[in-house]
């Protein structure tokens, strides 16, 4: 009669596997890649004459950050917390103020005509500006535009922007474009 081999006790393999699992859970970082996405303007061709794109002065708001991280928006000093309202006021131009950007009637596919603002936000910074302040300003501008898009989506689709489908989001993006120009580097404050 063959001897019966004693079975290997396998109840602890689960524990070992759990140990391994928790090790990996702790050491690995599910790196979240998030940030503010931008498109840089293409480099102007050297041979090509720089054509001065005449943008009407009322259509542009210049946001300057100096080396002490102080902020200037449309020729007046301003705090970062107020920038959002300034940008929104600039882009909405509810009362058709002649000092604020003009609007242009634009046919949006799948939606119809909408008065799209021609406003451009021009961001200028100094070489000494801290990155933190720069991102804070960028963030405020994006926040202003995001809120406007949200409002637009709520009015027209009864839902916040995030829960719209692709087509509708495209409509909203066209109605409220994100025109941020990061100008050529300039020394804002002369030393």
């Amino acid at each position: 009669m063959a001897k019966k081999l004693p079975e290997i006790n396998s109840s602890s393999t689960a524990d070992i596997a759990f140990l391994l699992l928790s090790f990996f859970l702790m050491t690995s970082n599910m790196e979240q890649n998030s940030g503010l996405q931008r498109r840089l303007p293409p480099m102007p061709d050297e041979n090509q004459k720089v054509q001065n794109q005449q943008i009407n002065r009322r259509n542009i708001i210049v946001v300057k950050i100096n080396s002490a991280d102080r902020l200037m928006a449309g020729n007046e000093p301003i705090d970062v917390s107020q920038l959002k309202y300034k940008i929104k006021e600039f882009l909405v131009n509810a009362s058709n103020d002649p000092k604020l950007p003009e609007k242009e009637k634009k046919a949006i596919e799948g939606f119809g005509d909408y008065m799209v603002s021609k406003g451009v936000i021009s961001l200028q910074n100094d070489r000494g500006t801290s990155y933190q302040a720069y991102i804070a300003v960028q963030n405020e501008i994006v926040k202003a535009i995001d809120e406007l898009r949200d409002e637009f989506a709520r009015v027209n689709f009864n839902r916040p922007y995030a829960s719209l489908d692709e087509e509708q989001q495209k409509i909203v993006r066209e109605a409220i474009p994100q025109n941020i120009s990061e100008a050529e580097p300039k020394d804002v404050s002369k030393r």
């Binding site: 990996f24 690995s28 890649n33 480099m43 960028q138 963030n139 994006v142 990061e182």
Partner: protein
Amino acid sequence: MAKFGRSGKKDVPGLTTASMSDIVFMLLFFFMVTTQLRETENKVMVRLPEASQSAKLERKDLAAYINVGPPVQHLQAQYGNDARIQLNDSFRSVDDIRDFIATERESKSEADRQFMTVAIKADENVRMGIITDIKQELRRCSALKIMYAARKPVKD
């Protein structure tokens, strides 16, 4: 005549734990596959700035990373504590970005090249001068899609 009569005992059979390890191993493999271990060693200290509006990068595999920040503690004796650029595994200057972008482009598939995003991971305390230089260089190499890496502020 109970042909299939039960044999006396009415014990509840013990729960077999033999398959538990398989389940856990499956979980383990899932985590091993989905998480990517850091390929390059960080030579600069980067504490990302906060931005509440930061959005997730959709195609992580199409990103090229440029790290900017002061060198890590044990390298400061050698390199000083000025902000520096790290590409792949070593300190580089702004002029090397061109080659870096070219190799990164080469490594992506033909169809995806236009969607390549350059993620600038810069420390919150660096000055804009170095960032501006990087941006100008990127424009020169026509790598126009960029992302300023930022983290979401912790809600309180």
